[in-house]
Amino acid sequence: MAALILTLFLPLLGAGIILFMNKTQRKGIQYTALGFALATFVVSLFLLFGFDPANADFQYYIHTTWIASLDIGFRIGIDGMSLLLVLLTTFITPITILSSFQAIKDRDKLYYMMLLLLEFGMIGVFVALDTILFYVFWEIILIPMYFIIGIWGGPRRIYAAIKFFLYTFIGSLLMLVAIIWIGIWGGGDAGFTADYLTLREIAPTVPLAIQQWLFLAFALSFAIKVPLFPFHTWLPDAHVEAPTPGSVILAGILLKLGTYGLIRYNLELFPQASIFFAPLLSTLAVIGIIYGALVAMVQSDVKKLVAYSSVSHLGFIVLGIFSMTTEGLQGAVIQMINHGLSTGMLFLCVGILYERRHTRELAEYGGIVTVMPKFAVLLGFAVFASAGLPGLNGFVGEFLTMLGAYQSPILGTWTYVAFAALGVILAAAYLLRMYNGVIFGPNLNPKNHALPDLTKLELWQLVPVTIFLVWIGIYPSTFLQLSETNMRLVSSKIEAAHRQMSQEHRVSSTSQMPLSPASLSFLLPQEIKNMHRQQQRELTEDGNGAAQQQMSDEEWMQE
């Protein structure tokens, strides 16, 4: 318990302490921030010891009432997936702080406060088990990120920051509507509830036609964050303009909030709607894989290249999620970690070059290996991990997501995978183009003749990440087993829903027209209550639905 509370609040405490420091004490501020980030990492490691991977329930569960009348509470807890993502966050943050030592040259105090606040928000999203609390954390993140891009960014930083903010914000407003709707539905006669655990039981009973709307409201918010094609255009701008540490956090963790949300909220709350929309989202994911790769291939700005590669890589994660098989979901979870590590590292490397030359044009580089051999080796690890070379981490995730999608009874066709696999070819094309262009060839540019190799500080950023690239590549079980039970549960629930849906389909060809409720009256609270009550009556009359749900859970337990 204490470990989770500490993990969540240590960064906030750090930010609070920095608030009272003298802004001229640059070193003091930097090391305070680093100290708190490292302490958070160490504390979060303790979460591992008390964690039981075989237990599908949320662990370290804490519940404190917040707004009693609306049943909104401070409810936090973690399962395997959130544990992995929390660890990713606490691992990446100290590294970004190290890279900030070089990249951030003014207004340190504000900056490190923002960074720690960001970490607080991100951990919060991953541990929140209350929809309103989740929403609060979700929005908290926007603020520090907005400032990090807007204050310490490149020349077009204001445009990029506003674009980032508005894009994300529009999505999250729709999500808020959905959170309120489902809260009223779930509250029953009590009025309202934001308890995720309650909602997870109740939400799947929402009629499909309305589930679809709720699904879309959540999915849009998450799709923008992921970002899924065609909602991705904020990403290249945000990445190019953000300072290096900002890009690292953005790629490393922020994007995972979207994929995390897709599993936690879309799949778990709305299994039927997820099944209905799986083909659509998988199609967008596959388009993103190929599209992102092709656009990345023709970029001349190294950072933009890596940014577009994220669109491609995240496509694999979304494809794995909507395969809704254990293999695909497990692949998605491990790929979230992988992408955080390898793309985060790519951005660190781009930053290291930028610090030395203040340009990101591919044409400006070449033959860097002659002056920076250590850098060449470490960048090589990141590049080949990203390209999905077996033995490094990226392969494990890509392979599992595609395997899951291939077998998925819900997607039911090999087409997605056939196209997704093309992305693997293209990944080699754009990454090698970058690696060859920067590292190899002759070192002809006189400005590059005397670049210093990696400093100790930079090695401390890159080497720890590299260790994990290899570790996950060779022995991914350490990480996969943490989330296996949870993902099994998710996929078995979806499977049960799928079976049930196809049975119902056979009995009566669907009377619910998807996505076409007679009017928007379903948005009115009174209407929600009525619908809920009516459904409760129906359920108690035949008692079938609940029994079936029970059955499938038991079946799963037997497996």
């Binding site: 674009k163 508005l166 894009y167 065609p230 991705h232 255009t233 904020w234 290249p236 599209y291 092709l294 656009v295 291939m297 023709v298 098989t325 254990t326 293999e327 497990q330 692949g331 033959g367 290996v369 002659t370 080949f384 070379l389 077996p390 033995g391 392969f395 392979f399 599992l400 595609m402 395997l403 899951g404 291939y406 077998q407 090999w414 995978v417 056939a418 696999a421 093309l422 693997v424 070819i425 080699a428 094309a429 090698l432 183009r433 060859n436 590292i439 190899f440 060839g441 002759p442 070192n443 060779i474 022995y475 991914p476 079980s477 996969l480 087993q481 296996e484 993902m487 099994r488 996929s491």
Partner: protein
């Protein structure tokens, strides 16, 4: 004994780590070189021990699986890092470590003084590690790890001299060739990955033994899915083993240092495809369509690559096309179900082609990095060891008895005839003639005749013993290697068994059963006739080459002028590279830049986003004008509003 197999790949890995991370501190070339060589050498001895151990067992128990640790486990998917020790994997492991060791030793001499000496040995060791994983793997996924791993090493080693120029179609630097190799191979890997999904969906496993067994029991008459899986795997093989349509990377891969060409791009890595098809031969055997494709692609590649090899002037490029051609033979053999013959040719080819490349390396070394055979000639007297070993290899590849190439190639030709068709045999036989011709064209232009270089500037010399000793060892192997597989036509009467056939038999029982191939018991007189024909063809090839390039040196030029179009076609490698660039690469590049990036991304999507933002801004501006702050205008608006409401209430 077999349990020790994990040490075999581990040793080179340790070597790679020591040299890779501490090479800069060790500095001493001798120590680095011998760490690299000995780790492989000891691995070779270990494989030998395991080999003899298995040989002492009864044939049916010559298959041991050694599981190390779980690798990827999720849901129903469960794959371990595990090695399968059986005759097929041991055969490959033997020549990979054996030839690998020799080439390591050779490299100590060849790479002497190179600034990346330690890096070279680290890569080379890493390559051996990956290659051993590829051939020893107990499942397709671990093979794939090795498969991509050798691709990585190939990439690193082709571009080893990363700041040197290398000319090719749209290739300017060696690293461009490296990139091309990796990406072209990735196209093949695309097929491999899909095939793995299909196989897992069908059988719920990727372990070779299980897949093969399940394929035979579940689909005794074959199935479409099985054929597709087999063809996708073969797509992977066309990449790694340089067959049509993906062979284009191999000639450019010659940008790497010559030992690399010998080890990776001739002897070992490029035979991975043959290994894989052999490993999954029951699967292929169940699909006549896939077998047909393999045979046709194989023989077509053999012929086409040989024709290109006729006119090339770069010593290594000739050898590269020769490799592509020989690999084609091997696939042709696989396509008609002659797995033993294919593996046999893999082994002998590893000997004589490695020898040819190392000999070429010795020549290039002596000629101060000159690779154009038009600028050589008469080198025989300067470097006798290189010369004699090179001739041995050339005779072997041409199929002159009793050298190794004769036995293995003839077994392939015989199988093409008896299990395939006369046409396959005919193309194969003609290719044999072409092979003999281009090999002796190479020998004559390089070693015979009068020197065409400037003796003032270039002083050819014999290479040091670290280089010549491997040449001699490989020459001996090229001579005697053929006795691994004495044809029945000879062996039957003399009671000498075909060793390789017996040795591989336990692995191929199923395949042979499916294809209805039975061990040869009687002698076909026609086998002797075909043998005679191919020897005669080889001799004709050699004779013509001698006539063209020694006796009457004007002929080649006159022919080139006479058949100008054909010559240009061959010289430009049938313009295949150009075709690929124009049809695939350029449109993709152009489309991505304009249609996807500039139009869709920046134009449509961002245009919409920014457009909406601007629209909202406009509305804001519009409404702002109402908020003037002048009380009179507010009053006017209020009155107007009241009037409107009244009208609505009264009249509507």
């Amino acid at each position: 004994m077999s349990e020790l197999i994990f040490l075999v790949p581990l040793l080179p890995l340790v070597g790679a780590i020591i040299n890779g991370f501490f090479g800069t501190f060790i500095k001493n070339e001798k120590i680095i070189g011998w760490i690299g060589s000995l780790t492989v050498g000891i691995a070779f001895l270990l494989v030998c021990l395991i080999f003899f151990d298995q040989l002492s067992l009864p044939p049916e128990s010559r298959s041991v699986t050694v599981t190390l640790f779980p690798w990827i486990v999720a849901g129903k998917f469960d794959i371990s890092i595990a090695y399968l020790v059986d005759p097929l994997s041991l055969t490959f492991a033997l020549f990979v470590t054996g030839v690998g060791f020799l080439i390591h030793v050779y490299s100590i001499g060849y790479m002497h003084g190179d600034r990346g000496f330690f890096r070279f040995f680290a890569y080379l060791n890493l390559f051996i590690f990956m290659m051993l994983n590829l051939v020893l793997a107990d499942n397709l996924l671990l093979t794939f790890l090795g498969w991509e791993g050798v691709g990585l090493c190939s990439y690193l080693l082709i571009g080893f001299w990363y700041d040197q120029k290398f000319s090719g179609t749209r290739i300017e630097w060696t690293v461009d060739a490296a990139q091309k190799a990796f990406i072209v191979n990735r196209i093949g890997d695309f097929g491999m990955v899909l095939a793995m999904f299909i196989l897992f969906a069908l059988f719920g496993t990727l372990r070779y033994l299980d897949v093969n067994a399940a394929a035979v029991t579940q689909f005794p008459d074959g199935s479409l899915a099985l054929s597709i899986a087999a063809l996708l795997i073969f797509l992977g093989c066309t990449g790694k083993s340089a067959q049509i349509p993906l062979y284009v990377w191999l000639p450019d891969a010659m940008a790497g240092p010559t030992p690399v060409s010998a080890l990776i791009h001739a002897a070992t890595m490029v035979t991975s495809g043959i290994f894989l098809v052999a490993r999954l031969s029951p699967l292929f055997a169940l699909s006549p369509a896939a077998m047909g494709v393999v045979a046709v692609i194989g023989i077509a590649t053999a012929f086409i690559a040989a024709t290109i090899g006729l006119v090339q002037n770069d010593i290594k490029k000739v050898l590269a096309y020769s490799t592509v051609s020989q690999l084609g033979y091997m696939f042709a053999a696989l396509g008609v179900g002659a797995v033993t013959a294919a593996v046999f040719h893999v082994v002998t080819h590893a000997f004589f082609k490695a020898l040819l490349f190392l000999g070429a390396g010795s020549v290039i070394h002596a000629m101060h990095e000159e690779q154009d055979i038009q600028k050589m000639g008469g080198l025989k007297k300067y470097m006798p060891t290189t010369y004699w070993t090179f001739v041995v290899a050339a005779l072997a590849i041409s199929g002159i008895p009793p050298l190794s190439g004769f036995f293995s190639k003839d077994e392939i030709l015989w199988n093409l005839f008896i299990n395939g068709s006369t046409l396959l045999w005919l193309v194969g036989a003609i290719t044999a003639l072409l092979t003999a011709f281009y090999m002796f064209r190479l020998v004559h232009l390089t070693f015979h005749g009068t020197p065409r270089f400037d003796p003032e500037k270039v002083h050819p010399h014999e290479s040091p013993p670290t280089m010549t000793i491997p040449l001699i060892v490989l020459a001996i192997l090229s001579i005697v290697g053929g006795f691994l597989g004495i044809p029945h036509a000879f062996g039957h009467a003399l009671h000498i068994p075909h060793f390789l056939e017996q040795w591989l038999h336990p692995v191929l029982v199923e395949t042979h059963k499916i294809l209805g191939i039975e061990p040869a018991t009687e002698i076909h007189p026609i086998e002797f006739v075909l043998m005679g024909i191919s020897v005669v063809l080889a001799l004709i090839g050699i004779a013509v080459a001698t006539w063209f390039y020694i006796t009457n040196q004007q002929i080649p030029q006159r022919l080139a002028e006479r058949f100008r179009g054909l010559y240009q076609l061959l010289w430009n490698k049938y313009y295949v590279d150009e075709l690929y660039y124009t049809l695939i690469v350029d449109p993709l590049w152009y489309g991505s830049t304009t249609l996807l990036w500039k139009i869709t991304d920046v134009g449509i999507i961002d245009g919409t986003v920014n457009g909406i933002a601007r629209l909202i801004g406009h509305f804001g501006n519009l409404f702002r004008k109402i908020q003037t702050g002048i009380a009179q205008s507010y009053a006017v608006m209020m009155v107007a509003g009241i009037v409107l409401i009244l009208i609505w209430m009264l009249f509507l």
